[in-house]
Every structure is written in C-alpha cells, then in structure tokens.
Amino acid sequence: MRDDKTLVLSQIRESLRTAHLPAARALVPPRAAIAQGDRAQLIENFRRELEPLGGSSYLARNDEQAIAVVLQILGQGDGREVLTWADEDIPVRGLGAALSLNNYARLDVNLPADAEGRKRKLAELASAAAGITGAMAGFADTASVALGTSATRSRLASLLPPTHIAILRTSDLFPDMACFFAANPHVTRDASNLVFVTGPSRTADIELTLQRGVHGPKFVHVVLVD
C-alpha cells in the first residue's frame, strides 16, 4: 500500500527529529577481517565443534577417499534415490559416475511452474534417502557449512531427505562468518537463498528433551576434502 509507505516513513522522520536514542552514533567501518587462519587448525576446530552437535565429519586426503566415504554413508541407509547438486558444484571428480555405478538414482529437483504439479513433484522428492551437496564455505568456529543456491544447486537436497552429506574443500574453511562475508561481499546477489547449516535439525520443545531431525535432516555428514 503506497499510502502506508508514505505515512510510515513520514512518521519516522517526524519522530527522529526529537528522538533520543541512547548510544546512537556513526558506525565506524567494520574491523578488518582476520586473515585466513592456519589450515590444520581450522580443520581441527571445525571437526571439534561439529561433534557435540550430533553431526559427523570425515577428512579425505583425495577425491577417491571422499567418494568412498560418501558411498559408505549411503550404504548405511536402504534407499536408492538421492537428491544432489550438479557434478560441477560438488568438489570431487567422479562422484556422479560412482553413484550411477552403484545404482543410485539422482532425482531431478526442478519444480514445475503450475501449482498442483509442484505439489506432486515435492511429494515425489520427499521420499529420497539422502541429499548430497557441495558447500561454498565452512566456518571453523561454529562448524557451519554455507550453501548458496543457483540453477544447479537446489535448496531441497539439503532439506528434504533424512540424511545430508556436504562435501567441503578444506581450502574453503574460514575462521568465522564475518571473514566469509568480508571475502564474499556479493554472495547474496548471486544466491537467492544462502543458508548456514550447523549440525542436524533439532528441537527441545517437548519437556526440553533434545530431539534431532524434526523437520530437516537428522543426520548431517561433512566430508572435508584436503
């Protein structure tokens, strides 16, 4: 409503003329982002932080090891259908081939434009056993992985299935979120949805007892590739 916009903004301006806002002053530019920390230290911190959250991490020395870990995780479940990002968005070569060789079917996650078709498609995707994604970055201080969307990087792969496997290059580890933003100032322009995932979905809404996997994935695996 145009009227409301004008009304609200002019009331704000009116109020600001006499407003007393304790502690208000100019914001000095942010502290310079801290330089990239020591890689081994970042890896260690990331893994240490993830564990108490109920997530699992693996350190793979090369692509083959990473693929083996992914297949092993998938083998623990019994479904054959997976949601994945495109090959070029997952930082290990040969994963796509390995998946098809081992009879995993990668579902197409593109939702149709019509409302009913969209609902049907979502219902189909909801039965997938696992989601496999890359990650733009990891934050060592909180064990978060940053997932940004694009034409080939879906939201649903890390959201619908009970298991989410994120593959992260150790060179993409940052000490914390502020450093990540400093290094990627335009990240929100490129991805309409950017989510920092920190461990498995959880709730404590029933008598404060911790439950994992309430709406999002119950199992979160981060495969660090060195």
């Binding site: 916009k5 407003a19 208000a24 100032p185 309409s192 994935p217």
Partner: protein
C-alpha cells in the same frame, strides 16, 4: 477496557499462574536451563562485552537513520525481485496477506514462528477467509492443536507435560498414545511434512533485514523455517519496521549474540539469508517473495522516552532472567510480548491505558538489563511507563504515592543508592524466611507489596555494579 476490569483480570491471571504447579515447575526448569546455557555460551565468546557494545551500537545507529535504511532495504528487496508492502497497523497487515492469498488462490498456509503474526492476530484473519493455517514450529504446533497460546518465547509449549502432549496427539492427529518425545517428534514430522508439501503459501517471521543487500535473515533450529520458505510457491515474510541492520558484517555481529543469549547455542542450526524469490533459472524455492513491514505504533514509539525498546532482538534472555516471569509465566501478562521486554513494549505500542499494570509487573531488580545482549535499560523504561500510568490516573492513591517516592529516589543517585542498599538489607532478612521472595517491606514501600510478592533485590545494585565496572 476499563481500568477496573483489566486490573481484576491481570490479578486473576497472576493468581492462576501462581497456583498452577505444573506450569511453575516447567517454567522453573526451562528458564533455569536457558539461563545457565546463556551464561556458558557468553563466557565462551571472546570479548563478549565488546561484541555486545558493538551490537548495541549497531541497533542504535540503525534506528537513528531508520528512514534511510528502510528506503535502502526496500529498494534492494525490489531489485532482487521481491515485493515490499508497508502496513500502518495490524489490520492493514492482515488485509495485505489476505489480499495476496485471495488473488493467488491460496487455500493452505504453513507458518514458521512469527511474533508479528501474533501481534496482528493473523491466524484469525486468515481463518475468517476460510484459509487453513498450520503452525510448523513443533512447540507452536502443539500449542495450536491445544487451542492455547505460547507460554514462552523460545519454548512455546513449555507449560505442557509430555503426557498431556501424548494425549493431545492421540486425540487430534490420531496416533496411538505415547509419551515418548522421540516418537511424538517423529509423528509431528510426518504430519507436518504433508502440510508443507501441500501448502500454497509459507508465512515466516524475520530476525533481521539487511539494508545493503535487501536480504532477510531468519534463524531457526528445526528446519521448519527452511521448509516454509522453500516448499510453497509463495513466501510472505513479516517484519517490524525496526528490525534492520545496515550490512552483512553488522548481521554477523548480531548473530554472534542472538543464539547465545536465546538458547545458549553459538549459532542456530539454520541461518537463512533470503534475497528475493527463486531466480529464473533456479529449480526450487518460492516463485514470489512478499516482505511486509509492520509499523503498528513503532514509528511513534521512536519519539518517546522508551524508544530504546526498539533495539530489542527478541532473544528472550530477559524473560528467563526475570524473577517475576519465572514465577508467573507468559500467559499471566495477557499480552503478546511478555516478560520484561513485553512489559515495556506492549504499553508503548498500544497505549498505557489498557496495560497500566504491566510496567508494575517487575521489582526493578535489574536482571533483565544485565543479560540483554544489546544492553537495553528496561528498568529505566519501566519507571517511565509507571509515570505514564500515574499521569493517566490509572493507579490507586497508595501505589501512586509509593511510585512518586520511588521515582524521586531513582532520579537522585545518592538517595537511590541508599534506598537500594536498604532494600537489599531488608530483602536479605526476609529472603531467609521466604525463599528469596519479599513478602512485605517497611513503609513507604509496603503499599506495593500488599498485592504482590517482590523478589529480592539483586545482591549488587546497578549503580554499584556500574561503579565497579567503571573502576576496572
């Protein structure tokens, strides 16, 4: 509403709450747990005080240029392909949502946690248009099934036992009775998953809007926020006009204190940054994003002596720390926003007349100010609003007298120091015999304690703490 009625109901609600043993035990456990988690999380944060100062500065600065940041935010949301709507009041917001729903043939709505929707009673407005609304945060879902209202900002269903929830699920969603939280959580996941996939519209709250990028930030633990903003073809995000930060770096500062103060986590499981609807080539996500900015009194509050309450980031820490809240719980306040923040915010937004009791639901012990991540001076504003109430002639003569004297001493540092020191001595004496609660005080403060018990004064008064910290 006449003063008489509102006073009676407030007292009744408090009496009820004090008598309700289950609520009492649950509240005590929850608030106690959250408090110690918060303390640990902040202790782990390097330079916690520096970060909190920065967080406060960011909020203060943003509000001092709120018109500029709002215009920047609106332009950037639109640049990213989102629609922005301003709502002057609750009705305007509900009407905007209903209009979007009507024109896009929406029948089912899933909701993530949103205080704004509680503020405008949006669910009723949608249901009046025969639109089905399902709350998806587990606690909110339980409360909705039971036909109740949330009792705690972070743990909405904390007043219910697992047996009660088991019975509720058995009755309402037709599962065999169980009181196992794991099984109940799994059942809720199953039922709600279908609702997500079948909904036409997802309605979410917003923790922060980022002016420089036009992003909205939404933090949550369950994943219901992600599903709400991903599965349905329309995403409607509701936010107060004050909930902005200038840029992403400022956001990262706010996020450092939000979860720590709220649940004691370093960061929530999901930190969503949403910038526009899905882009043309993206395969999933909503086709449309609508951001609705609610004023509902905020722009006027900005000119008052309680403008500082707009710094609030809704972490809930002051609720857990408040001895009154811990005793009576959220329902007794009778308002959407409860606890210390609610006691200041509600009369500020809706006027003092119907809410003249709220600023008095506090002993001014100062615990809220101590824990607030943005250091909001809630006790100061409670006094301001008590003064509003007095001027509006909303108080009995004896209470008015007590308040006058109190205001008088508070505004005069030396007297205030003397009074709080005396109060602490008194409370230590009485505290020994009544579990830390002051049952009566010597005159002239005894008028106050006739109708409510007062928690003991903090062992160190603010002015003492302030002095001590300055000397460091």
């Amino acid at each position: 509403m006449s003063e008489h009625i509102s006073n009676v109901t407030f007292h009744d609600r408090v009496d009820d709450a004090l008598r309700n043993q289950i609520l009492h035990t649950a509240l005590d456990r929850a608030t106690g747990r959250f408090q110690s988690l918060r303390a640990n999380a902040l202790a782990e944060l390097q330079d916690a005080d520096v970060v909190r100062d920065r967080a406060r500065l960011i909020r203060a600065h943003t509000l001092s240029k709120l018109d500029t940041y709002l215009e920047q935010f609106v332009a950037n949301v639109e640049k990213a392909g989102g629609h922005v709507h301003f709502a002057r009041d609750a009705n305007a917001l509900n009407e905007i949502v209903n209009e979007i729903a009507r024109t896009r043939n929406v029948r089912g709505v899933v909701k993530g946690k949103s205080m704004i929707s509680e503020e405008t009673h949006l669910n009723h407005a949608l249901e009046a248009e025969h639109i089905r609304v399902v709350e998806t945060d587990l606690g909110e879902y339980i409360v909705q099934l039971a036909g109740e209202t949330p009792s705690h900002i972070v743990a909405p269903a904390i007043h219910k036992t697992k047996e009660e929830i088991g019975e509720l699920f058995h009755q309402k969603i037709n599962i065999p009775y169980t009181d196992d939280p794991a099984l109940m959580t799994a059942a809720a996941r199953h039922v709600l998953r279908r609702e997500f996939l079948d909904a036409d519209m997802g309605i979410s709250g917003v923790n922060f809007g980022v002016a420089e990028t036009g992003s909205i930030c939404l933090v949550e633990n369950e994943g219901n926020g992600r599903l709400t903003t991903t599965a349905p073809r329309i995403h409607v995000a509701l936010m107060g006009i004050e909930r902005l930060v200038p840029n992403l770096d400022d956001l990262s500062v706010m996020l450092q204190v939000l979860a720590r103060s709220s649940t004691g986590q370093k960061i929530t499981v999901y930190t969503n940054l949403i910038t526009g609807p899905r882009q043309d080539d993206e395969g999933d996500g909503p086709d449309e994003l609508h951001v609705i900015l609610l004023d509902n009194g905020r722009s006027k509050v900005l000119a008052t002596e309680v403008a500082e309450i707009l710094y609030c980031i809704r972490c809930g820490a002051c609720l857990n720390a408040c001895p009154v809240y811990r005793e009576i719980g959220g329902h007794a306040y009778g308002s959407v926003y409860t606890g210390p923040v609610g006691a200041v915010l509600t009369p500020a937004l809706e006027g003092i007349a119907p809410w003249s009791d709220l600023p008095h639901a506090s002993s001014l012990c100062g615990a809220c100010r101590q824990v607030c991540p943005v250091r909001i001076d809630i006790p100061r504003m409670l006094l301001v609003e008590r003064d509003w109430a007095t001027r509006a002639g909303k108080l009995q003569w004896w209470l008015r007298l007590g308040l006058r004297m109190y205001s008088f001493t508070v505004t005069r540092p030396t007297l205030f120091k003397l009074a709080t020191t005396a109060g602490r001595w008194g409370s230590r004496l009485v505290g020994a015999s009544s579990g830390g609660w002051i049952r009566s005080l010597p005159p002239p403060l005894n008028g106050w304690t006739q109708s409510r018990d007062f928690p003991a004064f903090a062992q160190k008064s603010f002015s003492e703490q302030f002095e001590a910290s300055r000397k460091k």
